[in-house]
Protein backbone atom coordinates (compact mmCIF):
# COMPACT_ATOMS: atom_id res chain seq x y z
CA UNK A 1 0.00 0.00 0.00
CA UNK A 2 2.84 2.42 0.74
CA UNK A 3 4.22 3.13 -2.68
CA UNK A 4 7.51 4.95 -3.16
CA UNK A 5 5.99 8.37 -3.64
CA UNK A 6 4.31 8.05 -0.23
CA UNK A 7 7.21 7.04 1.93
CA UNK A 8 7.68 10.25 3.86
CA UNK A 9 6.66 11.47 7.31
CA UNK A 10 3.82 13.77 6.31
CA UNK A 11 2.06 11.12 4.29
CA UNK A 12 2.38 8.66 7.13
CA UNK A 13 1.02 11.29 9.49
CA UNK A 14 -1.95 11.64 7.17
CA UNK A 15 -2.51 7.91 7.16
CA UNK A 16 -2.28 7.73 10.95
CA UNK A 17 -4.75 10.54 11.30
CA UNK A 18 -7.19 8.91 8.98
CA UNK A 19 -6.93 5.47 10.56
CA UNK A 20 -7.20 6.84 14.08
CA UNK A 21 -10.20 8.98 13.11
CA UNK A 22 -11.87 6.02 11.50
CA UNK A 23 -11.08 3.80 14.48
CA UNK A 24 -12.54 6.34 16.86
CA UNK A 25 -15.65 6.80 14.78
CA UNK A 26 -16.25 3.06 14.84
CA UNK A 27 -15.47 2.66 18.53
CA UNK A 28 -17.37 5.64 19.86
CA UNK A 29 -20.87 4.20 19.26
CA UNK A 30 -19.80 1.08 21.16
CA UNK A 31 -18.52 3.21 23.98
CA UNK A 32 -21.76 5.18 24.07
CA UNK A 33 -23.72 1.95 24.08
CA UNK A 34 -21.83 0.61 27.07
CA UNK A 35 -22.30 3.85 28.98
CA UNK A 36 -26.00 3.77 28.31
CA UNK A 37 -26.22 0.63 30.49
CA UNK A 38 -25.79 2.99 33.40
CA UNK A 39 -29.35 4.12 32.78
CA UNK A 40 -31.22 0.87 33.10
CA UNK A 41 -28.73 -1.84 34.06
CA UNK A 42 -26.08 -0.39 36.39
CA UNK A 43 -25.03 -3.89 37.39
CA UNK A 44 -24.02 -4.72 33.86
CA UNK A 45 -21.90 -1.59 33.70
CA UNK A 46 -20.14 -2.58 36.86
CA UNK A 47 -19.68 -6.03 35.50
CA UNK A 48 -18.25 -4.47 32.43
CA UNK A 49 -15.85 -2.34 34.38
CA UNK A 50 -14.71 -5.44 36.29
CA UNK A 51 -14.32 -7.24 33.03
CA UNK A 52 -12.17 -4.29 32.10
CA UNK A 53 -9.58 -5.34 34.62
CA UNK A 54 -8.65 -8.18 32.30
CA UNK A 55 -5.18 -7.38 30.85
CA UNK A 56 -6.31 -8.02 27.30
CA UNK A 57 -9.11 -5.55 27.69
CA UNK A 58 -6.66 -3.16 29.29
CA UNK A 59 -4.56 -3.39 26.18
CA UNK A 60 -7.58 -2.69 24.01
CA UNK A 61 -8.45 0.27 26.15
CA UNK A 62 -4.93 1.49 25.87
CA UNK A 63 -5.31 1.16 22.14
CA UNK A 64 -8.38 3.38 22.20
CA UNK A 65 -6.78 6.05 24.29
CA UNK A 66 -3.82 5.77 22.02
CA UNK A 67 -6.03 6.30 18.99
CA UNK A 68 -7.60 9.29 20.63
CA UNK A 69 -4.22 10.72 21.57
CA UNK A 70 -2.81 10.16 18.10
CA UNK A 71 -5.83 11.79 16.55
CA UNK A 72 -5.95 14.73 18.92
CA UNK A 73 -2.31 15.61 18.60
CA UNK A 74 -2.33 14.94 14.89
CA UNK A 75 -5.39 17.17 14.69
CA UNK A 76 -3.63 19.85 16.67
CA UNK A 77 -0.77 19.68 14.23
CA UNK A 78 -3.14 20.02 11.30
CA UNK A 79 -4.97 22.93 12.84
CA UNK A 80 -1.64 24.62 13.51
CA UNK A 81 -0.55 23.99 9.94
CA UNK A 82 -3.76 25.41 8.60
CA UNK A 83 -4.34 28.34 10.89
CA UNK A 84 -1.06 29.48 12.37
CA UNK A 85 1.66 31.25 10.42
CA UNK A 86 3.59 28.73 8.36
CA UNK A 87 6.47 26.86 9.89
CA UNK A 88 8.90 25.05 7.64
CA UNK A 89 9.40 22.33 10.24
CA UNK A 90 6.39 20.21 9.33
CA UNK A 91 8.21 16.91 9.68
CA UNK A 92 9.35 17.76 13.19
CA UNK A 93 5.81 18.75 14.11
CA UNK A 94 4.42 15.51 12.76
CA UNK A 95 6.96 13.55 14.74
CA UNK A 96 6.24 15.58 17.88
CA UNK A 97 2.53 14.87 17.54
CA UNK A 98 3.19 11.14 17.49
CA UNK A 99 5.60 11.47 20.42
CA UNK A 100 3.05 13.38 22.46
CA UNK A 101 0.44 10.74 21.67
CA UNK A 102 2.77 8.01 22.95
CA UNK A 103 3.48 10.01 26.07
CA UNK A 104 -0.15 10.52 27.00
CA UNK A 105 -1.32 7.07 26.06
CA UNK A 106 1.70 5.59 27.81
CA UNK A 107 0.91 7.46 31.00
CA UNK A 108 -2.63 6.15 30.81
CA UNK A 109 -1.38 2.63 30.30
CA UNK A 110 1.08 2.81 33.21
CA UNK A 111 -1.65 4.10 35.48
CA UNK A 112 -4.00 1.39 34.38
CA UNK A 113 -1.72 -1.61 35.04
Amino acid sequence: MIRPHRSHPLWIAYLLHRLSGLGLALFLPVHFHVLAFALNQPERLDGFLRFADNPLVKLAEFGLVFLLAVHVFGGLRLLALEFLPWSPRQKTLAASAVAAAFLVAGTFFLQAV
Binding site: A25, P29, L35, A38, P42, V72, F108, Q111
Partner: protein, 109 residues
Protein backbone atom coordinates in the same frame (compact mmCIF):
# COMPACT_ATOMS: atom_id res chain seq x y z
CA UNK B 1 -16.57 16.94 -1.69
CA UNK B 2 -15.86 19.35 1.13
CA UNK B 3 -16.90 22.93 0.70
CA UNK B 4 -16.02 25.77 2.99
CA UNK B 5 -19.05 25.31 5.28
CA UNK B 6 -18.45 21.66 6.08
CA UNK B 7 -14.78 22.38 6.48
CA UNK B 8 -15.54 25.13 8.98
CA UNK B 9 -17.91 22.88 10.88
CA UNK B 10 -15.32 20.15 11.06
CA UNK B 11 -12.47 22.40 12.14
CA UNK B 12 -14.52 24.36 14.69
CA UNK B 13 -15.88 21.21 16.25
CA UNK B 14 -12.34 19.83 16.40
CA UNK B 15 -11.22 22.94 18.23
CA UNK B 16 -14.05 22.62 20.69
CA UNK B 17 -13.12 19.01 21.35
CA UNK B 18 -9.47 19.62 22.05
CA UNK B 19 -9.91 20.74 25.68
CA UNK B 20 -12.80 18.32 26.15
CA UNK B 21 -10.89 15.22 25.06
CA UNK B 22 -7.68 16.19 26.80
CA UNK B 23 -9.74 16.81 29.94
CA UNK B 24 -11.48 13.49 29.51
CA UNK B 25 -8.20 11.59 29.21
CA UNK B 26 -6.92 13.37 32.30
CA UNK B 27 -10.05 12.46 34.25
CA UNK B 28 -9.78 8.86 33.17
CA UNK B 29 -6.16 8.65 34.22
CA UNK B 30 -7.15 10.17 37.56
CA UNK B 31 -10.12 7.83 37.91
CA UNK B 32 -8.15 4.72 37.18
CA UNK B 33 -5.37 5.80 39.46
CA UNK B 34 -7.90 6.36 42.25
CA UNK B 35 -9.38 2.94 41.46
CA UNK B 36 -12.88 4.38 41.24
CA UNK B 37 -15.76 1.98 40.61
CA UNK B 38 -18.51 2.70 38.14
CA UNK B 39 -20.83 3.60 40.92
CA UNK B 40 -18.37 6.09 42.29
CA UNK B 41 -17.88 7.70 38.92
CA UNK B 42 -21.58 7.87 38.33
CA UNK B 43 -22.04 9.30 41.78
CA UNK B 44 -19.95 12.28 40.79
CA UNK B 45 -21.39 12.81 37.32
CA UNK B 46 -25.06 12.21 38.00
CA UNK B 47 -27.06 15.34 38.51
CA UNK B 48 -24.13 17.58 37.75
CA UNK B 49 -25.04 20.38 35.35
CA UNK B 50 -21.37 20.98 34.70
CA UNK B 51 -20.70 17.41 33.59
CA UNK B 52 -23.92 17.46 31.60
CA UNK B 53 -22.76 20.50 29.69
CA UNK B 54 -19.24 19.08 29.36
CA UNK B 55 -20.24 15.80 27.81
CA UNK B 56 -23.23 17.31 26.03
CA UNK B 57 -20.95 19.64 24.16
CA UNK B 58 -18.68 16.73 23.36
CA UNK B 59 -21.50 14.62 21.96
CA UNK B 60 -22.68 17.47 19.76
CA UNK B 61 -19.21 18.25 18.48
CA UNK B 62 -18.20 14.70 17.86
CA UNK B 63 -21.36 13.89 15.92
CA UNK B 64 -20.71 16.83 13.69
CA UNK B 65 -16.99 16.21 13.40
CA UNK B 66 -17.01 12.49 12.89
CA UNK B 67 -19.89 12.46 10.40
CA UNK B 68 -18.07 14.94 8.21
CA UNK B 69 -14.85 12.95 8.63
CA UNK B 70 -16.60 9.74 7.64
CA UNK B 71 -18.16 11.49 4.69
CA UNK B 72 -14.70 12.37 3.42
CA UNK B 73 -13.36 8.87 3.90
CA UNK B 74 -16.35 7.23 2.31
CA UNK B 75 -16.20 9.54 -0.68
CA UNK B 76 -12.50 9.10 -1.17
CA UNK B 77 -12.25 5.37 -0.68
CA UNK B 78 -15.65 4.06 -1.77
CA UNK B 79 -16.47 6.78 -4.26
CA UNK B 80 -19.89 7.49 -2.78
CA UNK B 81 -21.19 10.84 -3.97
CA UNK B 82 -24.21 13.04 -4.49
CA UNK B 83 -27.36 12.31 -2.48
CA UNK B 84 -26.13 8.98 -1.23
CA UNK B 85 -23.18 10.73 0.34
CA UNK B 86 -25.38 13.38 1.98
CA UNK B 87 -27.64 10.71 3.36
CA UNK B 88 -24.71 8.74 4.67
CA UNK B 89 -23.31 11.77 6.45
CA UNK B 90 -26.62 12.66 8.05
CA UNK B 91 -27.36 9.11 9.12
CA UNK B 92 -23.96 8.60 10.69
CA UNK B 93 -24.19 11.97 12.42
CA UNK B 94 -27.69 11.31 13.76
CA UNK B 95 -26.74 7.83 14.89
CA UNK B 96 -23.77 9.19 16.83
CA UNK B 97 -25.95 11.96 18.24
CA UNK B 98 -28.70 9.58 19.35
CA UNK B 99 -26.34 7.11 20.95
CA UNK B 100 -24.31 9.89 22.50
CA UNK B 101 -27.39 11.54 23.99
CA UNK B 102 -28.59 8.23 25.38
CA UNK B 103 -25.27 7.75 27.11
CA UNK B 104 -25.26 11.35 28.27
CA UNK B 105 -28.64 10.93 29.88
CA UNK B 106 -27.58 7.70 31.51
CA UNK B 107 -24.41 9.13 32.92
CA UNK B 108 -25.42 12.61 34.02
CA UNK B 109 -29.15 12.69 34.72
Amino acid sequence: MLGLKLYMAQRLSAMVMIPLTLGHIAVMIYAIQGGLSAAEILGRTKGSVLWFLYYGLFVLSVSLHASIGLRVIVHETLGLKGRALEIFMWLSGLLLLAMGLRALVAVTL
